[in-house]
C-alpha cells in the first residue's frame, strides 16, 4: 500500500520544481542544496526539528527570503529572479508561522485581501466568493468582527481563507496547526483534504509528526538544511536518519 502512494505521487503534472536551492546567512547554511519536485494533486509535508531550515525553505520559495543559489520553476515558469510580489500573482499562496492579520479591519476585509492584487478575472464576483470561502472555513458568523476579538483557532481559519480566496494552485502552509487543540487540528486537517479535492496542491511545514502522517500523502524530512529522507509518510517516519534527527543518535535502531 505504501508503495502504491509513491507511485501515485509520480502522477500528476509537475507543479513546482525546486533545484539545488541554498540560503546561507553568513556562515550559517539554513538551507543547503534542496532539490525536490511537487506534482499537482497532493498534500506534501516537510518534517524536521526546529532550526532544520523548513521555514527558510518556504521563505525562499515565496522569494521573501533572498537565496544564495538554486532555482524555482512553477508551471514551467522560472521565477527565481522575480520579485516576491509576483509569486502570489502566479498562483502560489502562503500562510505564516504566526498569525498576521490586520487587527483594525473586519474578518471579511482581511479575507478579501487575498484577491485584491489579482487581475480582474481573479477578482470576479468577489462578494459571492468571499461568502463562499467564509462558509467553507467556518467564519461566516464573525464576518464583521475584527481578528483581535477572535480566538487563536478562528484567526488561523481567517488566514486560511485569505490564502485560498484567490484560488491558488499551490498553497504553502507554515505550521498551520501550531497552538491549536486536537479538535481544531482535526478540522484543519479535514479542510486541507477538501481543498485538495478542489485542486489546491499543498506543501506543509510542520514538526507535529502525527498531524503530518494523518494529512500528507508524501513527506520530505529535513535536518541541518538538507533533505535526509523522502517518500510515503510511513516510510519516512521509520527512516533511521529521521529517527535520529528527532530522538538523537541510537534511537533509530530501537524503533
Amino acid at each position: 500500500m505504501a508503495e502504491n502512494t509513491v507511485e501515485e505521487t509520480r502522477r500528476g503534472r509537475p507543479l513546482l520544481e525546486v533545484d539545488d536551492v541554498a540560503v546561507h546567512f553568513g556562515g550559517v547554511k539554513a538551507v543547503d542544496g534542496i532539490t525536490l519536485e511537487l506534482r499537482a494533486g497532493h498534500i506534501y509535508g516537510v518534517l524536521g526539528p526546529n532550526g532544520s531550515g523548513k521555514s527558510t525553505l518556504l521563505g525562499a520559495m515565496t522569494r521573501l527570503t533572498p537565496m544564495t543559489r538554486g532555482s524555482f520553476v512553477f508551471e514551467g515558469n522560472d521565477y527565481t529572479r522575480r520579485p516576491a510580489r509576483t509569486v502570489h500573482h502566479m498562483g502560489i499562496a502562503r500562510t505564516f508561522q504566526t498569525v498576521r492579520l490586520l487587527d483594525d479591519r473586519s474578518v471579511r476585509d482581511n479575507i478579501l485581501l487575498g484577491q485584491d492584487t489579482l487581475a480582474k478575472a481573479g477578482r470576479k464576483d468577489a462578494d459571492a466568493r468571499v461568502d463562499e470561502v467564509m462558509e467553507r472555513v467556518g467564519v461566516t458568523a464573525v464576518a464583521r468582527m475584527r481578528p483581535d476579538e477572535l480566538s487563536y483557532g478562528m484567526q488561523r481559519r481567517v488566514e486560511f481563507a485569505r490564502a485560498i480566496i484567490g484560488r491558488p494552485r499551490l498553497l504553502l502552509l507554515d505550521e498551520p496547526t501550531a497552538g491549536m487543540n486536537s479538535s481544531e487540528r482535526e478540522e484543519i486537517g479535514a479542510l486541507m483534504k477538501q481543498l485538495l479535492d478542489e485542486g489546491i496542491t499543498q506543501f506543509i511545514v510542520e514538526h507535529d509528526v502525527q498531524m503530518m502522517v494523518d494529512t500528507c500523502d508524501y513527506l520530505f524530512a529535513m535536518n541541518f538544511g538538507k533533505l535526509i529522507a523522502e517518500g510515503t509518510p510511513a516510510a519516512v517516519v521509520k527512516h533511521p536518519a529521521v529517527q535520529e534527527a528527532y530522538l538523537g543518535k541510537g534511537a533509530g535502531t530501537h524503533a
Partner: protein, 295 residues
Amino acid sequence: MSDWYSMNVVLIQTTLTTLLLALSIQVPLRYGVFSFAGVGAFGIGGYTGAMAMVHGEWSTWPAVLLGTLVAGVCTFLLGLVVQRLTGLYMGMATIAFTLIISVLAVNGGDWTGGAMGLYGAIGEITTMHIVLAVLIVVAFLAWTEYGRRGRKVDTVREDPELANALGIDVNGYRRLSFLISGLIGGLAGAITTLLRSTITPSEVNFHLVILALTAIVVGGARSWVGALIGAVIFVWLPTFLSFVQEWEKVAYGFIVAVAAIYLPNGVLGVVKDLWHKSRTRDERARVAVGLQEKS
C-alpha cells in the same frame, strides 16, 4: 450665518489650509512611511507660487498649480533618494529636507527675498476656492481609503512583508506616498502664501511639522476625517482657550499628551471603535456564549 462667517473668515480659511498641511503629513504615515517632507513641499509650493506671481507676473491659479507641481516633483525625487530608509532615519532625513528648503529661501537673494521673505504675491483667493481645492484633495484621498485600495494601503503600513506576499508592490506604494504628500503639501503652501500675499523663511520650519503631527495624533492618523477633526480642534482651540491667557501653550500640550496616551488612534479611532462595537454586539455575544459552552 453671514455675520458669523465674516467674523471668522480667517479662522475658516486657516482650518482649511491646516487640513491640507496635515494631510500632506498624514498620507505617508498611512502608507507606513515616517516622512515629514510635506512641510518642505509646503515651502517649495509657497515660494514657487510667490516667485511666479512676483517675478513672473503670473496670475493666481497658474501660480498655485506651478507651486503644487514643482513641490510634487521635488518630493517624489526626494522619495527616490531616501526610500530605503526606515523609521527614525526616514524622519530625520525628511526633516533635514525641510530645513534645507528654508536655508535655500534665506540665501536665495532677490529670487526669494532672503531672510525678509517675498512680499506682494497678492493672490485672488476666496474661501470658496479653498473649499473647492480641499474637496478635490479629500475626494481623492477618500478614494484611496476605500475598498480594495484602502485594504492594500493598510497592509503596506501594518505588515510590509505580508503585503509583499499578497502581491502588493510595497516600494511602489511608498514612492507614490511621496508624490501625493508633495502635491498636497505644495498646494497647501501655495494657497497659504498667496492668501497672505507673503512668505518668509521662518514660516517654513519645524513648527509646521509639530502643528501637522498634533492635528493627526489628536484627530486620527488613519483617515482624512481624522486630519479634519485635528485641524478644526487646533485652529479653533485658541478662541475657546482665551480665558487661560498665557497658559494656552500648557493647555495645548496637555491635550496632545492626553490624546497620545488615551486615544492612540485619535478622536476618530474612538468613534470608529464605538461604531464597530455597537454594530457587532450580536456577533460578539454569540462568540462569548460559544466559548462558554466549549469550556
